[in-house]
Symmetry: C2
């Protein structure tokens, strides 16, 4: 039972489990995070962390994929405690986190089968995104116009970085081509003469009509920012580095930072209309995590004091509002005024991912800054 | 073009259209409301109101249904301005509002074809709900357990009342059987020894595990309350009338009224955990509309002063927080503290329905109270 039991992620403010459903996004992310910490940080290189990751990986391999769904790779979104599929999304994200989990687990265990499985699922993902999305199960409708959501190339770029890290060969070249395509796709979301990052654009890279076309998600743009900066650094592309910082990190701050109450707003309409998402004015934990990584990474490479100032401003808001001094961990959801309004530590979309990834990335960057100063 | 043009419903705080999509729920509700006002209130018996309703009805008949969807009755959720299907839900609600629109439009125009169409779609709805839901397009998953959502029998009961009003005959008897079934289904949501109304229960009428099973929606329970009271009055069922008032109206107030800030909370967990819906603590306009109808209807039949007191309390909050003295109409979405946080007058889920239905029902009830006093 333990060997493939997966993780509860619905955890109340004091650590109590309030729901036993198992969300595949969060299972995959937790496995990835454990493995990454185990592999790259000495103080987490402990057998119990590896065992937990292996248990989560076994649960995913046994239960995440949906039999008879038309593709051997389509995964559920949500499972019962004992692994029965309960909900399925008509998107690629459960599958993306499955790839991340399997590839990172293969790196720490040396299990080649898992690496092959990650690669095969990646091929299916690229097929769904670039060739034919019909296997995802969305019905064809007469008003359908292809919409490019920034989340899709961002996730694929993240997977490309996962799958190519410290590897070489034919497969890596194939992924590099995908990575280049992702970067081009992400850059299409820079609209209105380079003054706005829009979440969704047409397949020709043009602005879409209505609310959907005008939607901005500052936290998401910041996350794209550090993905692009990292890619630009790895590939020596200075123009891309500049765009990542000046556009994908600066614009979301100018438009998304709440000057009255502090913190990053969740959604905005580029023309100043009220977004139709009920949570638009809330402060969520994850955009703040992404902002911390983005500004610290940008500072460490540019040494521009303004970027360290941005980091400090986000840091002060984040650690005074989200982290829970009483019971540990972070709250996830605040009102616009900064009051905790959903008080659980883990929920259907908040797992062991954004907070530890943020702390991990920031620690790595801070170490590199200190190391450079010493030499 | 005018004849089948439908309605814009995304309307900003000052009346400006901010999105041109046409939501089928809202199209159907608007047609129904216009016809009901035209038919039953002298001051709205105006040709321009009938013309607007006919235009909306023609738009629905021409564009709402999705060709090749497996059923000639499956409707879209959202259409482009020119009527192309953009989104489809795997539920019955677009179709329910289509039935309401067609039947009421048939009553004012005398168009028998429309009445037949409403009846045929109703047969399909009953089939989906009571016999076989597979035509709604939800994939079968291994963890599926049949979940009874209170919205489904509530909507069907509403349609039964629409389709049977002032009619008799074989078809009406058929609907009455459906109505009785709906009432039994709704009563299954009274759980925990009659102390809680839960939104979702198992098909055996038992509590479901986890967050889903513990979810309460006070505004929805109140709406069910006045549906049940109305049904109980029409059928001379005094026990049902008592249950409607004592359970479906009283419990949501005791659990859902925000004692600190006033107003009805949107979602609650019956065991006091934090709901996972981000909007759980917001104050939405429609639960307040339903509460006004419920308490005034209950007072008019019981003459219990406590119910008039409830009405007054909800009235004071509602008219001091939702209605916009500057530009007219009501705002729809407030923070827990009562501040307007989405400032549009119409959106994807807020159309010409809950506010005018509330004012219409309350005026009718107040008239009947005054008339009884005079005689």
């Amino acid at each position: 039972m333990y060997f493939s039991s997966g993780f509860f992620t619905c955890i109340g403010k004091d650590g109590k489990i309030y729901d036993q459903l198992k969300y595949v996004w969060l299972q995959g992310r937790q496995v990835w995070m454990y493995c990454r910490l185990y592999r790259t940080m000495e103080r987490f290189n402990k057998p119990e962390i590896l065992e937990a990751a292996k248990s989560g990986g076994a649960f995913l391999r046994r239960f995440a994929r949906i039999p008879n769904s038309g593709s051997p790779w389509k995964c559920a979104f949500c499972l019962t405690r004992d692994g029965k599929a309960l909900k399925v999304q008509r998107t690629i994200f459960s599958e993306c986190f499955y790839v991340m989990a399997m590839d990172e687990l293969a790196r720490v265990t040396g299990d080649k089968d898992m690496q092959v499985e990650a690669a095969q699922m990646m091929d299916q993902l690229v097929h769904w995104v670039r060739v034919d999305p019909s296997g995802l199960g969305k019905p064809q409708l007469s008003g359908d116009t292809p919409v490019c959501s920034m989340a899709v190339p961002m996730m694929l770029l993240c997977l490309v970085q996962q799958l190519t890290e410290a590897r070489s060969g034919e497969e890596v070249d194939k992924y590099r081509e995908v990575g280049g395509w992702c970067v081009k796709q992400i850059l299409q979301h820079l609209q209105r003469g380079g003054t706005a990052i829009l979440e969704s654009v047409s397949s020709e890279g043009k602005e879409l009509p209505g609310c959907e076309g005008r939607l901005q998600n500052p936290g998401h743009a910041l996350e794209a920012g550090w993905f692009l900066l990292q890619y630009g650094l790895e590939n020596g592309d200075q123009e891309l580095q500049r765009t990542a910082v000046d556009k994908f990190m600066e614009i979301p701050f100018l438009t998304g930072w709440d000057k009255e109450h502090g913190g990053l707003l969740y959604f905005l309409d580029v023309d100043g209309y009220c977004p139709t998402q009920l949570e638009w004015s809330m402060k969520l934990w994850w955009p703040h995590c992404e902002a911390l990584i983005a500004y610290l990474m940008a500072y460490s490479h540019t040494k521009e004091p303004a970027l360290l100032e941005r980091f400090s401003q986000v840091y002060d808001y984040t650690f005074s509002h989200f982290s829970d001094a009483e019971n540990g961990e972070w709250f996830g959801y605040l009102t616009q005024q900064g009051k905790v309004t959903l008080d659980f530590k883990g929920g259907p979309f908040k797992g062991f991912f954004h907070v530890p990834r943020c702390l991990y990335m920031c620690e790595k960057i801070l170490d590199s800054i200190l190391n450079k100063q010493e030499t």
